[in-house]
């Protein structure tokens, strides 16, 4: 069973993404949670796979559904766009109640939101896959990881793969600096 703390972490991430002007659709949340789960040194229990648009967790998708059911998040619809997530008043209450502001993971949540909020979904797909490739073999040189990225996602061009790999290397220290050991 998912704990109230896990609910609150997702809510805090959603809130921070919105504060940093992310569209905050499901892709934005999925990729951000993948970064948080992978680099936060605090397993949140979501199983990510390499799916159509990069790393994706069906568990996390269900978790978002659950948060909506419980009234902690809501979906906004602005045609012709797909839905975007926002934290409700009840959700804000849970973030406070669970004291996420003083949680060791909070800096990591902020770093994730700051780095990823401005990204479009295609950039997030590429960055997320770059992280997944890095996790496979952290010692591999950039060129080899970019090549691996195009093998996993053939529709990503070699130029975009190289760009995504380099950008990942640029933002990685920011995550590592805030990485906690909760």
């Amino acid at each position: 069973m998912i704990s109230l703390k896990q609910y609150a972490i997702t809510l805090a991430l959603t809130k921070k993404l919105r504060e940093n002007d992310s569209w905050c659709g499901e892709t934005h949340l999925q990729k951000s949670m993948f970064f948080l789960e992978s680099l936060g040194n605090s397993s949140l229990g979501y199983n990510f796979i390499l799916y159509k648009h990069g790393p994706y967790s069906f568990d996390f998708h269900d978790h978002l559904d659950e948060l909506k059911t419980l009234g902690f998040i809501d979906l906004e619809y602005i045609p012709p766009y797909g839905p975007r997530y926002k934290v409700t008043g009840r959700g804000e209450g849970l973030i406070q109640e669970q004291q996420i502001d003083s949680d060791p993971l909070n800096d990591m949540i902020k770093a994730t939101a700051t780095c990823l909020a401005p990204k479009k979904v295609k950039e997030l797909e590429q960055l997320g896959t770059a992280l997944l490739v890095w996790k496979e073999d952290q010692t591999a040189p950039s060129e080899a990881r970019a090549q691996r990225l195009t093998i996993l996602k053939p529709h990503i061009t070699p130029e975009d793969a190289t760009k995504a790999t380099q950008e990942f290397e640029t933002i990685l220290p920011c995550f590592q600096q805030h990485s906690c050991h909760a």
Binding site: L4, W23, T69
Partner: protein, 450 residues
Amino acid sequence: MAKTTHEFRDAIHSFITCSTDERKVINSRPMQRLRHIHHLAMTYLLYPGATHRRFEHSLGVMHLATRMFDTLTDPENLRHLDSNVRSLIDEHIGSDRQKNHWKTVVRMGALCHDVGHLPFSHGAEELLPEGISHETLTWKIITGPHMAELWRSLSISEPEEIAKVAVGAKEASRMNPPKILSPWEDLMAEIVVGNAFGADRMDYLLRDSLHTGVAYGKFDVDRLIKTLRFLPQPPEGEGGESDNPVIGVELGGLHAAESMLWARYFMFSQVYFHPVRKIYDLHLQEFMKAEFSRGIPLDDGLEQFLKLTDNEVLASLRKAAYDPLSPGHDPARRIEKREHFKKFFELTFSERQSNPLALQEVAEAARTKWGKENIRVFDKDKSAGTVQFPVRRDDGKSIPAQAQSPAIKNLPVVTTGYIFINPQSHMEARKWIAENRGSLVKDLNQGEAS
């Protein structure tokens, strides 16, 4: 001359047809086994007509999936698509040979999507080892030796294509190792087991509605299927376009889609989450745990598993009900003599929202008071309100259904939590809840619910 097309009469769809080679699949051992597995487990103890089996449901899913495939891939219905969204479709069904191949894959995936079910369907699933589900078994059966020759007769060289369409992306990703569907396979699986318009869902709503006598499960399936379309996914913000099509609906079919989603809500409320049905499921699980104390047999290439149906379990259950020395005697007796535990607490939606852990907290207090052997808990929420699909408006734009339809945006959530007690203590427990509900169900924000 021998017939090449064969027909089944069906209570929902009138006639369901198949080819001679497809009939061999229907006649196979894994498929025929489904004649002996109730679609709604022991719901017939509550709704006496609900004795239908997974076999006829599987035929129905094949029939509806075929109709959906034909509508979705009709060239007339693809003309509106931009070339980038259409490229995936052209790449896979550009020729008649390709189209026939995928139609067969969809039909067979639909037909076989339930072959891995245990006796009494979902009721016994908890007995499976960690990481194994009925979808895992479905995958193993479809890709295993029992069906290999049948696929060859149908010119299908990769049975995994059928398995992927039968279980869908989510369950395939939970296999060990994970199986990942390509965007096209994902689209085909949506036809069969999709969350919004899967043929599985359409058939079970209509069929369960008919057999339970709960009329709320009906909807205009003909109109809905006629108006289904491959549509671009609404973009996730500026620059958030995706080239992968999804299954959506023309504006003219929106009311049919609405009625299906409401039908689902009603069926969950009235049938699937009915407290008496749930307590029979729980007693059945207890019996099966005792009966299969060494686990469900899954070795030996699923030979033992394929021999196991509701019939064998029912025979054991009736015997155990009258044999006090049998390890499964108590739950068997409760089912056979209708002496099931009784509901004394039902969590309201607002209570769950106020405190997601409320049900477990009340259950713990009840266990402390009456002993855990006298308490049973069913806890489930189903967010029927979050089904996402696009609607194609008359101006050609695709927008999220929720943006077009208040009936879908405001679809209530089916959420249920029950606590049951040994019938001997039922009245006492009801009084306890009535007197203590306010202090037992604590509001996270205010300490106690009002």
